[in-house]
């Protein structure tokens, strides 16, 4: 029997500790909190190779209303498909690119990340997984975080991805970030619907 410590909600007031410089603080008269950020929403480092991308989306609840007090964390490989983690034996030593980011949502439930498009990473049975980002959502009203995955709309490898294949076809689209053009940079849109119509697929991990 495990003696694990249970999860509790992040609550509505995490911003000044966890995301002090993020868009969380939408009070018009105060921009940021006076506390050094552990990690922010810009993952791009001078040593990062690959395609620079921006991820944008909105987080909404079961009534379709904005969740304006959520925190999104993302975890991803570099453009070569390597994780900056001791668990990945292929990790580059002394890499500046960490592949981890945090963004709070704003008044409209919006969040964004500036990052590098990840490469394919090793998957079950020695078969590579399609490029993807692990996405974790925390908020008031969530007693534990929920996990989802972001895949890219322009990746042919999605068709052979072992994890996407576990998702009923009619819901798979909720995991695909759509490439938007004409913004002067590559933007992928990834909305997260926590509940209800078009509900994002969350994983039991």
């Amino acid at each position: 029997m495990s003696d694990i410590t249970p999860s509790q909600t992040v609550g509505p007031y995490f911003a000044y500790g966890l995301t002090p410089h993020s868009r969380c603080n939408w009070s018009p008269d105060q921009k940021v909190y006076d506390w050094k950020e552990t990690v922010g929403a810009n993952l791009v480092t001078p040593d990062a190779t690959g395609e620079k991308i921006r991820i944008e989306g909105r987080v909404t609840d079961g009534d379709g209303l904005a969740i304006n007090d959520a925190m999104i964390e993302i975890w991803q490989a570099d453009s070569q498909g390597r994780y900056a983690s001791p668990a990945d034996k292929r990790a580059r030593t002394n890499a500046l690119f960490k592949g981890f980011g945090r963004s709070a949502t704003d008044k409209e439930g919006g969040y964004s990340f500036d990052t590098i498009k990840p490469g394919a990473v090793p998957g079950p049975n020695g078969k590579p997984q399609a490029p993807h980002i692990v996405v974790c959502i925390y908020s008031r009203g969530m007693l534990r975080q929920v996990y989802t995955r972001l895949y890219f709309s322009d990746e042919a490898a999605n068709a052979g991805d072992a994890i996407l294949a576990l998702v009923p076809e009619e819901r798979r689209g909720t995991l695909i970030a759509h490439k938007e053009s004409g913004k002067g940079q590559t933007v992928y849109r990834f909305d997260i619907r926590v509940q209800g119509e078009g509900e994002t697929v969350f994983f039991d991990i």
């Binding site: 079950p124 692990v134 007693l143 039991d204």
Partner: protein
């Protein structure tokens, strides 16, 4: 170190939908979660070691010109995995209300005073024995709108990383003997009593500093264990 993360260990976690805590009603998934194998993407995780922490980040009473009002306390403990092995060099972040039960967050407009000498955020990294230590003031209880006359028990929010993205934990540390426990739907969302009490710190007289500060111990156990449990002799 290759760890596995059995799902059964999560059985003591709160349910996503816990209607007594009203905000869960519209913010919990209604579709069943999709079971998936753990791949390298889940079994790896960010490492934020000593470079993420500045000197003084773990002392919440020294972040401003003067000392904050309230009861000065030490909060310390160990971070373990499920085999009770220490988790070294892992980031521990905390945030909390001030002694009056007021958060500096803009949205908190509860009519209790802010303390110009207290922000309420802290950060540290566990040492090689998985040990961490903060100095702060005891947070006050505060009202919230969940139900008539709802008050949160005194608590400190914790965010901990561990060995992978699967061991990532956000939780709350409570104080022993709080009279608000029976009435708090967030605390009671953990229905297993033993598990619930693991979120309650213990009064640690031995590590109290005489004439200076009381001490509370809060040990944290994260997901993750060896595939073959160590022999028990």
């Amino acid at each position: 170190m290759a760890l596995i993360y059995p799902r059964e260990s999560l059985s003591v976690f709160p349910k996503h939908l816990s209607p007594e805590y009203r905000s869960t009603v519209k913010r919990s998934p209604s579709q069943p979660l999709i079971l998936m194998p753990h791949t390298l993407s889940e079994l790896s995780g960010p490492v934020y070691g000593h470079n993420a922490v500045q000197e003084g980040d773990a002392d919440l009473t020294k972040q401003h010109k003067g000392e904050p009002l309230g009861e000065r306390i030490i909060v310390h403990g160990h971070v373990y995995d499920e085999d009770k092995r220490p988790v070294p060099d892992t980031l521990v972040e905390i945030w909390q209300a001030n002694a009056c039960g007021r958060y500096v967050h803009n949205v908190d407009q509860h009519p209790a005073p802010l303390d110009p000498n207290f922000t309420g955020s802290g950060r540290t990294v566990t040492d090689k024995n998985g040990y961490y230590r903060f100095i702060t003031v005891k947070p006050g209880a505060y009202p919230w709108g969940n139900h008539p006359n709802a008050w949160r028990p005194n608590h400190i929010h914790f965010s901990v990383f561990g060995h992978s993205f699967l061991s990532r934990l956000v939780t709350q540390m409570y104080f022993p003997g709080d009279p608000l426990f029976p009435f708090d739907p967030i605390f009671n969302s953990v229905t297993d009593e033993k598990a619930r009490l693991r979120m309650v710190s213990t009064f640690d007289l031995e590590n109290t500093i005489p004439d200076w500060a009381l001490c509370f111990r809060f040990d944290i156990v994260l997901r993750g264990r060896e595939e073959t449990p160590p022999d028990k002799h």
